[in-house]
């Protein structure tokens, strides 16, 4: 007897198309590439006078944010609107006595309002999986960030940024710097880079901010910033939360900056044409120097633009896959 669950591709339909977007784990390279290609097309739409297409006309997208976020929420809203969907955004407080009931009931209620898609952000790892599996399996669920686990749309917008600036992934060295332990962005980036064939992925952090078993992602861990940045093509800086100073993870922001802050001088260790990325919002003088954040090598604002296109691609692909699954299931029932 082996009573461990066989891993089911929860986020794919029977034809292998995306029907939920929960994590990059288990998604094949072809699908990630298709997503990037689709996002490229939406980028063109975003550059036009009329930035809207009628693809999701008549569909309702609910943004349900159990955790605060301005950028992710806004870009998801904008993405849905540019696809002509109707958008509702709910900021749900998690301070209610029973988090689980709130989540379950909130979503069931929204489902009853005939929402076609939920974008969910939640402080618990696995929240999006839970919703897709147990709450609303027939509604497309998009993970807008769950705990430390995954932030797949951020991961893919970072990949779009890299592909547009570097052409591909095959010969790249990419360094991810900072609080890897608590970062869902880092986890999604590592998975995406691996799947897309990046041969040299580095993570740079003190031991207190590196998760145990980081090697499983096929990355090399560095504790020294200078060594880790040597000749890289891409530097991805992570946001350092203020609360990390409590509980002994770090002595101070100042000491972190001294050791792991990205300054012009340190960036010079990377390749001359290296790009600098950051999921935002940035902490100037904590993880990154202003001169770098605003400098010629920074593509931080491009990331925001690409984020809308990636989210348009994810919304339309998942809606498409979920619909196909429903039709397939109906056909089956007949």
């Amino acid at each position: 007897m082996t009573p461990t669950d066989a891993k089911r591709p929860l986020q794919l339909n029977d034809q292998g198309q995306l029907r939920h977007f929960l994590s990059l784990d288990g998604l094949p390279r072809e699908l990630l590439t298709e997503l990037l290609d689709t996002a490229d097309s939406f980028l063109e739409v975003g550059a036009r006078a009329v930035k809207k297409v009628p693809l999701l006309r008549g569909k309702t997208v609910c943004n349900v944010f159990f955790e605060n976020s301005t950028r992710t929420r806004t870009t998801f809203e904008l993405a849905a609107k540019r696809l002509s969907a109707d958008v509702i955004t709910l900021n749900v407080s998690t301070s209610s006595t029973s988090k689980g009931e709130t989540l379950f009931d909130t979503l069931r209620n929204l489902e009853a309002m005939a929402a076609d898609m939920f974008v969910v952000r939640h402080a618990d790892s696995g929240a999006a999986h839970f919703i897709a599996e147990h709450v609303c399996p027939d509604v497309a669920i998009i993970n807008g960030g769950d705990g430390r686990h995954a932030h797949p749309t951020q991961g893919m917008l970072d990949m779009l940024t890299i592909r547009r600036h570097k052409g591909g992934f095959e010969n790249l060295s990419v360094a991810i710097v900072g609080d890897i332990l608590h970062s869902r962005v880092a986890r999604s980036n590592m998975l995406a880079l691996k799947t897309l064939g990046c041969p040299d992925i580095r993570v740079i952090a003190p031991k207190t901010l590196l998760p145990v078993g980081i090697e499983q992602y096929g990355v090399r861990a560095y504790t020294d910033l200078a060594a880790g940045l040597k000749d890289v093509d891409v530097v991805i800086m992570l946001r350092l939360q203020r609360e990390r100073m409590q509980g002994g993870l770090l002595p101070s922001q100042g000491e972190f900056y001294k050791l792991y802050g990205l300054t012009e001088q340190r960036l010079a260790l990377a390749k001359p044409d290296a790009i600098v990325m950051h999921p935002g919002p940035i902490n100037r003088g904590v993880e990154i120097e202003s001169a770098v954040a605003d400098g010629a090598q920074s593509v931080i604002l491009n990331q925001v633009t690409y984020g809308i296109a990636i989210r348009m691609a994810v919304l339309s692909m998942a809606m498409s896959g979920q619909q196909a699954q429903r039709q397939f299931a109906q056909g089956d029932a007949q």
């Binding site: 007897m1 009573p3 461990t4 669950d5 891993k7 089911r8 929860l10 784990d25 988090k99 689980g100 009931e101 989540l103 379950f104 939640h122 618990d124 790892s125 696995g126 929240a127 999986h129 839970f130 147990h134 769950d146 705990g147 430390r148 686990h149 995954a150 869902r184 986890r187 998760p211 145990v212 078993g213 980081i214 499983q216």
Partner: protein, 423 residues
């Protein structure tokens, strides 16, 4: 009531008995093994040819949820479920509402258990009032009311000084203290074994050192105080290594493991199923293998269900927002038989860990089949199968094993000479 059980293959690990013979019960006790006593006129005959008869299982950790958490389970429902799992004696931990820190709560539990009549219940008392770790509970009053040992569960004592005094006080009266060694600070916020799986899933980890740091302190204080100690639900390879080392240097400590931790590993968490959310957490494959080895060698002398039934809502949330625990007592025997099926243990050794091993650890007067012993037995068909969940009795449906086909099927459970379960 006189009962004769005919033709069963009797295995009594405490005596080494391992042969086909009849068993005769009288007045709730075992009257004879083999030929019936002169003039024995059985009122009930059980044809048990092809079945194995063993002492009723003794489970050191079954949360009955009553008083206080009856939406999760109650004494009647959970002792009934235990009987279905082949259990005739069980210990219930003190985490009820109110906590088992006054004789009144003990009496309530014993009364309800007696009126339900499905299993013998041996309550564990709280070591500190309210399990708050500050002030000692009235241990002697609790002992006199029926508590067989004392524990603070996973709740920490206020500090090492209070812990030391509690142990010395318990030692004064030869009371047994049950430890669940997990350092609360190292485990704080943790949801899963700290390792690659937890890292991958972004679940906060509970390091192995949460167990070993607490365990080494506990062992030193046990040694210093001379208290009788039992270590419950060890989860790590290093943990059992430390118990083995303590036993080797003559410290008379015993230990148990949760049956599900002999089967599952942290890899089961992939997919975020809250059914695998347990405390202490499911650890690595290497840890599980070491636990199995320790059960085999006897360093760990007891296997317990660590049954924790829950209402559906307790598990219907994202992993971190769910309550830990598996509803497991009902499958104790068939799930344990998977260890025999997989060739990890022979049947007599397995039965020892489920009967005389746990009974000895807490000095319970059960777990063996000698003449004069309690007529507590389980009769099971080792060749049949149990479809887990087919006739579910526990209030808690939170078992990841439901739907699995498990080896062996309990046919009769007898407690005090009366049938408490029949299938």
């Amino acid at each position: 009531m006189k009962v004769s059980i005919h033709g069963a293959h009797v295995i009594d690990p405490s005596s080494g008995l391992d042969r086909v013979c009849d068993i005769h019960l009288d007045g709730g006790r075992i009257a004879a093994l083999g030929a019936a006593p002169d003039g024995f006129d059985a009122e009930q005959q059980i044809a048990a040819h092809g079945l194995i008869a063993a002492p009723g299982l003794v489970d050191l950790a079954v949360s009955l949820r009553e008083p206080g958490y009856t939406r999760k389970g109650n004494i009647a429902s959970e002792t009934r479920a235990a009987a279905a799992g082949g259990v005739t004696s069980l210990c219930c931990p003190p985490r009820t509402k109110p906590v088992v820190d006054t004789p009144a709560v003990v009496e309530l539990i014993l009364d309800r258990a007696a009126s339900a009549g499905h299993a013998r219940v041996f309550p564990l008392g709280a070591l500190s009032k309210g399990l708050e770790g500050e002030q000692l509970a009235e241990l002697i009053a609790l002992r006199d009311a029926g508590c067989v040992a004392f524990t603070n569960g996973l709740a920490p004592m206020a500090n090492n000084r209070v812990l030391r005094r509690a142990l010395e006080y318990a030692a004064t009266f030869d009371l047994t203290v049950v430890f669940k060694s997990q350092d609360a600070d190292l485990a704080e916020g943790g949801l899963a074994h700290e390792g690659p799986t937890a890292s991958f899933l972004g679940l906060p980890g509970i390091p192995e050192s949460a167990e070993t740091v607490a365990l080494s302190r506990d062992l030193l204080l046990v040694e210093q105080s001379g208290v009788r100690a039992h270590f419950s639900q060890l989860s790590s390879a290093r943990g059992v290594e430390m118990i083995a080392a303590a036993q080797a240097r003559g410290l008379p400590v015993t230990a148990d493991v949760a049956l599900y931790q002999l089967i599952l590993t942290d890899e089961a968490l992939v997919g975020f199923s809250s059914l695998y959310h347990v405390q202490p957490p499911l650890r690595s494959r290497a840890d599980r293998d070491a636990l199995r080895e320790a059960v085999k060698s006897g360093v760990v002398s007891a296997i317990a269900s660590h049954h924790q039934p829950h209402e559906p809502d307790a598990k219907l949330a994202p992993f971190g927002a769910t309550e830990p625990g598996i509803s497991s007592v009902e499958l104790l025997l068939p799930l344990a038989l998977t260890l025999v099926e997989d060739g990890l243990l022979d049947l007599p050794t397995l039965l020892a860990r489920l009967t005389c091993g746990p009974a000895a650890a807490l000095r319970l007067p059960v777990g063996q089949l000698g003449v004069g012993a309690h007529a507590d037995l389980v009769l099971f068909d080792a060749k049949a199968q149990t479809l887990a969940g087919e006739h579910w009795l526990s209030r808690g449906g939170n078992s990841p094993f439901i739907g699995h086909c498990l080896p062996g099927a309990v046919r009769y459970t007898l407690q005090g000479g009366r049938i408490s379960h029949q299938a």
